[in-house]
Amino acid sequence: MAQRTRSQQADRIRHLLETEGDAVHANASSFDTQREAAYSATDDLEALRTEARSIKEDAIDRLPELLETAREAVEANGGTVYVADDAADANAYVADVVHTESEEHGITGDDDTPSVVKSKSMTTEEIDLNEALAAAGIDITETDLGEWVLQVADDTPSHIVGPAMHLERAEIAELFNERFDPDEPFETAEELTQFARDYLADHIQEADVGITGANFVVADSGTITLVTNEGNARKCAVTPDTHVAIAGVEKLIPTLSDLEPFVDLIAKSATGQSIAQYVTMLSPPTDSPTLSFDDPEEPTTTGDEAKADRDFHLVLLDNGRMDMREDDQLRETLYCIRCGACSNSCANFQSVGGHGFGGETYSGGIATGWEAGVHGQESAAEFNDLCTGCSRCVDACPVKIDIPWINTVVRDRINRSEDPAATDFLVDGLTPDMEEGGLDLGKRFFGNIGTAAKAASATAPVSNWLADADPVRGLLERTLGIDRRRDLPAFQRESLVDWFEKRGGAAASSRRASRGADVDIDREVVLYPDVYTNYVDVDRGKAAVRTLEALGVPVQVPDLPESGRAALSQGMVATADRQASRLFASLAEDLDADRDVVVVEPSDLAAMHREYERLLPERSFERLRDRSYEICEFVYGLLENGADPSALSNGNGAEPVTYHSHCQQRTLDLEAPTVAVLERCGYAPETTSAECCGMAGSFGYKREYYELSVDVGERLAEQIDGAKTVVASGTSCGDQLEGLLERDVPHPIELLAPGYRV
């Protein structure tokens, strides 16, 4: 498939920001806030999430066996199970059921066309069931209000849970007024809903077959579970005598008791409700009497007679899922319960919605996994770069799926599938990576930012002047896709490592530390000179060294390899893997000597604490994780152990400071220690609530994403505007905020270091 060019992609994103962004942001962010509240009101949330995940792990592991169990159970109840290989297979089966049903019992409605009513189901979207049934001469009506609006508008869902989230009430009213031409034009949500209810009620009564999805299928009782707020799924399932439920094979869980954590979690994670209005557990055909809207005055049939009239088909769809099960990286996707929490918590999704951040069917963070699995990599390639790896979805996902990792892996696979370009030689010399040719030049450049930074620093300030010059910006934009509106980082001639050596290295640091301390703190620190701290934001590195020394801790700042963070962001997993091993090797002796590793840049710490689990042997990963700390977290620990905060720069007790933590730092629960340290040092910190600054390393530099990045950043900037002092932990956050607010945004450690003046 032809990929969009950078400028096409930029245009498309700009268009979505303008047309759909506001509505999606309003809805998704309020769902997200409600989810957070529901999560924090649940005592045993972590236990529930862990349990839910382990049930899914087990179920996917035993899937072939559960399929057979479900088949036996449904057949014992009197229903039929059909396992469909792919979309065409499933669609043909459903069309066949509808035709057979309407031939046997006659067509229920007024005309000669068999008709079907459907309750919202992403799985039927995945197989394009509506189009297939229409082509088979069958009328199909969506009954979920949002889904029906889209059907009327000939539009596609933009969210897994709120399919019409991108439309505002006025747009829906306009659409309905035009299409249905009512006597009094529709205005309020109440009027629109009333109209839809009546219109759809007629269709439900006249339908020959009701189609639903299934949120879960309990294998041993053959029970399908439908979770809805409107009640249309119940109506579709019980009103027509024939019910077809379509679900991916991954929806199977072993027993009824396995359902409990999901019933408890799904509404909380989706909308922040404690439970959905209707959790319907059906083991069809049911005992409910059959209704006959054609012959309404006849007594209804009940009991066994009714049961005999009812027909139930469970279609379990493979469509790539059995292969995903064999794929060590994509398997986790199958644990997904489609709650949409990852979308709601995602800053980029909130700006462009699922029409931008989504593939053929699925949208949001997990869509990469779904699309790669069921539609193929090209569908995922369309939007995969919109995941910045901020990891805020990690805490939102009720089954603890590592969504950013899936995005990284799929990005890597997409990178590898691209053809080598003639321009590869341009960066080959600069990039000592593990990647094949064909990788997007911009990605390759950012994935090797350490090498570039080293060269730029060695030639600073000339390199900075050059980089700012118009012709160079043009070249950078054309070849690497770096947007010329973004200020480039200014490289320092003297790196942090050089500065540290010049002032006497580790020996001098020991002397300074022993002078500073009055309590005996027996720790030694290796300060990790990440690329930005070492070459660009050297001041925050110096501040970190001075702070630690003032609290009595001797520091070393050795020249260490890159962490692999930059490579990971670009989906260069092999490169990151090699870098992780090198970094671990370089630190192994320090770890053996019980030194602590202190990290200034949160994204590098996040690599060590999260992604290294995938890249290093387990024991190495654990050793490094257990011994590495974020700088303010470490300072917090020192103060807790008796170090004296008066050695640092202190506020007057109520000195206001606005603090933007960093997305990955928040996922690691490391916002609180910085806040606590600021308080201990006499400041009155206020934290920001925006999920993310939108910059995320290289993301905001790229021409196609610049505007999206700024849109996200502005939401954060608005919260901060007017604050006296603003500090941010991440380089990207700082860069973004400095650009938007046109002021200095230091790292909190700079505020705390001895000698700083507010």
Partner: protein
């Protein structure tokens, strides 16, 4: 059944804007009478001493169901923490009676109000063992925000009342 569980149930229902009444079985009929809007359809109450008002049609045709403004059904059990009632798919039509009319009146024995979801699942599992394996957990009123604002009573009832029989 502790009083606390019922109190919790009442508070949960209040939050959902669902009516709550606690009455002796013998007064059920009278109370239901004051709540229902006619025409009304219902599934017979299986609680000793509790009956449906005379005016309620108990073996409704499809037309009765379509016309009805109120549907009254017993429920198997209720979950106090979330204000949930468990409606069973029975041959006398509890499922459609609770779903089609705009108002649903659910009648539950006080001894069948369990404290939390976990206790609800214990009840559910024993029901499944006895072969009653199609149940709806209904919590509050049918709702949607798809038309740009929260609206109740979309496809299901827009008003719900729960009557707890205190001596059952």
């Amino acid at each position: 059944m502790t009083v606390d569980t019922i109190g919790r149930f009442e508070r949960a229902l209040e939050g959902l804007e669902v009516g709550f009444e606690r009455v002796p079985a013998a007064d059920a009929s009278e109370r239901i009478e004051t709540i229902v809007e006619e025409p009304a359809v219902g599934a017979p109450l299986p609680f000793e001493g509790a009956t449906l008002p005379e005016s309620v049609t108990t073996t409704p045709t499809t037309a009765d169901l379509e016309r009805a403004r109120t549907g009254i059904t017993p429920v198997g059990f209720a979950i106090a923490e979330y204000g949930t009632v468990a409606i069973e798919s029975t041959a006398d039509g509890a499922e459609p009676i609770s779903l089609y009319p705009d108002r649903h009146v659910a009648v539950v024995a006080e001894s069948d109000v369990v404290p939390n979801l976990s206790a609800g699942f214990d009840r559910l599992e024993s029901q499944f063992e006895r072969g009653r394996d199609s149940v709806v957990f209904a919590t509050g009123r049918s709702a949607t925000a798809d038309m740009g604002d929260l609206v109740h009573g979309v496809h299901g009832p827009g008003a719900v009342d729960v009557i707890v029989l205190e001596d059952r």
